[in-house]
Amino acid sequence: MIAPVSWRLHPGLIACTMAAIRRTWAYRIRFVLWVVRMIAQLYLLRMIWMALYAGHDVVDGIPANMMVVYLTVAMLQEFLIQPLIVFEIEQRIMRGTVASDIVRPVGFMQQMLAYDLGGILGRVPVLLVAIPLSMVVGWLRLPPTPAAAAGYAVSLVLAYLISLMIWLVVGMGGFWMTSTQGLRFLLSTIQSFLAGAVVPLWFLPDVLRTVLQLLPFQGMAFLPLSIFVGQATGIDILVALGIQLFWVVVLALMAAFVWRRAQWKLVVQGG
């Protein structure tokens, strides 16, 4: 009774998205705290970087204020594309409710994607507060050129897709491991470092930088951010987008492969 994979838009999917939006807003206090958390972190991070720059305006060709914009955008986009989908999948597998998800007339993966989209839409209002706020205090400014702005827009979508595919694969690991909590926690803690959201790849020791450039994670933060701040220009923007696209394709193939296998592995607990 496994629904065939089809991409026809089913009204049930819209319902999934709406449910996810409503659920994001179920606990209102969360929103105040999310904004507080972002501001607190940014404030402290900014101060640490200022201390590191120690009065120098430019280090390795990166001006201090560009670094602040980099950190701000990193935080904002990380907030927007949180990998909650993996948590959703894990919960459903652990509690066994995945059994009823699978017999629904819409494919399981489509349901999960619809939920994820709902989560993102639900978080947008927070950004509508956070973005103007960070522009007023001068931590955020617009990309320097229209090309950078357009490049970033495309790059952000690709970054989301890379994140989505990575987390889908991790989430489906649950069909084998039953509990993916450990793997999820491990990856979620190191991903922002691997992605270059904490320290831009420019400032890393050579060996570490080379390793990170060979992994897909830089496509989640470093590549879009260097386009945004104007560090990657002209042909470099296209190269960055090309690298991201490459990873989207590779990871999507992997996700599809894992999902095909996963359907035969399902063990429902305590059913």
Binding site: Y27, I29, R30, L33, W34, V36, R37, A40, Q41, Y43, L44, L45, M47, I48, M50, A51, L52, Y53, A54, V59, D60, M177, T178, S179, T180, Q181, G182, L183, F185, L186, T189, I190, F193, V198, V199, F203, L204, P205, L208
Partner: protein
């Protein structure tokens, strides 16, 4: 109810929980690794930037490694007892807290020991290893006073850490969730706890010294043995445990008080 009996019940709960977590063996190992990774991210960040920028507010990588080791060891100490507080949201929202109320030991104790998170192993070991390694790298005399200062700082740090998890956890009884607030403190401590607070500007520095006393976890106690001036008199480094007891007491009071407002989920 005798204390030994209470303790033996807690011990049984802990054993059962560890057995339970061992059922998912792959995930168990991953979680230990994840705990270590989460806690080491703060250090990796500092190591990565200091390999390019040399010093942070005049502190070298070795000195900051000491701060980091102190904070992580204190965190491990706190986690040994209070790791399960992270589950308060689930217990309250799904009514599991009911069970604690009908059993004959204090609910907070049951919350603490109904499960011990295995990631603690990573935090404790990581903290001790980094602390010991850093101690051999910096120029500190092994005097009785310095050892006492270090031990007191660890206890104080654990209490401060615990206070800013249990205090916010009290909010769950009112708002049904508090993890968003708890991870704010978790984040700040793990990411910035090993930075000298002297690099921050005055208002924020005051907040992180007198309101959320993060400066007392590592920076202030470590300053004296390292022979460093801070923005406070040198002897304030000895105050960590006192500060810890005060904020922890406040947090406990808040938790117990708020728990009276517990409403079950009605099933």
């Amino acid at each position: 109810m005798s204390l030994t009996h209470t303790l033996s019940i807690c011990w049984s709960l802990i054993r059962a929980s560890i057995r339970g977590q061992m059922q998912y063996r792959a995930s168990f190992l991953m979680e230990v690794a994840a705990g270590l990774a989460y806690q080491s991210m703060g250090f990796v960040f500092i190591w990565a930037v200091l390999s390019r920028f040399q010093s942070l507010g005049g502190w070298s990588l070795r000195e900051i490694a000491l701060l980091y080791g102190m904070r992580l060891a204190a965190h491990g100490l706190y986690m040994l007892c209070f790791s399960n507080v992270v589950r308060i949201d689930d217990f309250v929202r799904e009514g599991g807290y009911d069970r604690f109320l009908v059993r004959p030991i204090p609910p907070l104790l049951q919350l603490m020991f109904s499960s011990i998170r295995v990631t603690v192993v990573g935090d404790v070991l990581g903290g001790i290893v980094i602390l010991m390694a850093a101690l051999t790298q910096v120029d500190i005399a092994w005097s009785a006073a310095n050892v006492a200062l270090l031990v007191l700082a660890l206890i104080g740090g654990a209490l401060i850490n615990g206070a800013f998890q249990i205090g916010p956890a009290a909010l769950t009884f009112r708002f049904l969730e508090s993890w968003t607030l708890r991870i704010i403190f978790d984040d700040i401590f793990s990411r910035f706890g090993s930075c000298p607070t002297s690099i921050l500007d005055r208002p924020i520095r005051s907040v992180l010294t007198f309101i959320v006393p993060m400066a007392f976890m590592a920076y202030l106690p470590a300053a004296a043995p390292l022979g460093r001036e801070t923005y406070l008199p040198v002897w304030t480094g000895w105050l960590s445990p006192l500060v810890g007891v005060i904020v922890f007491g406040l947090a406990l009071w808040l938790f117990v008080r708020a728990s009276r407002g517990y409403q079950s989920s009605g099933h």
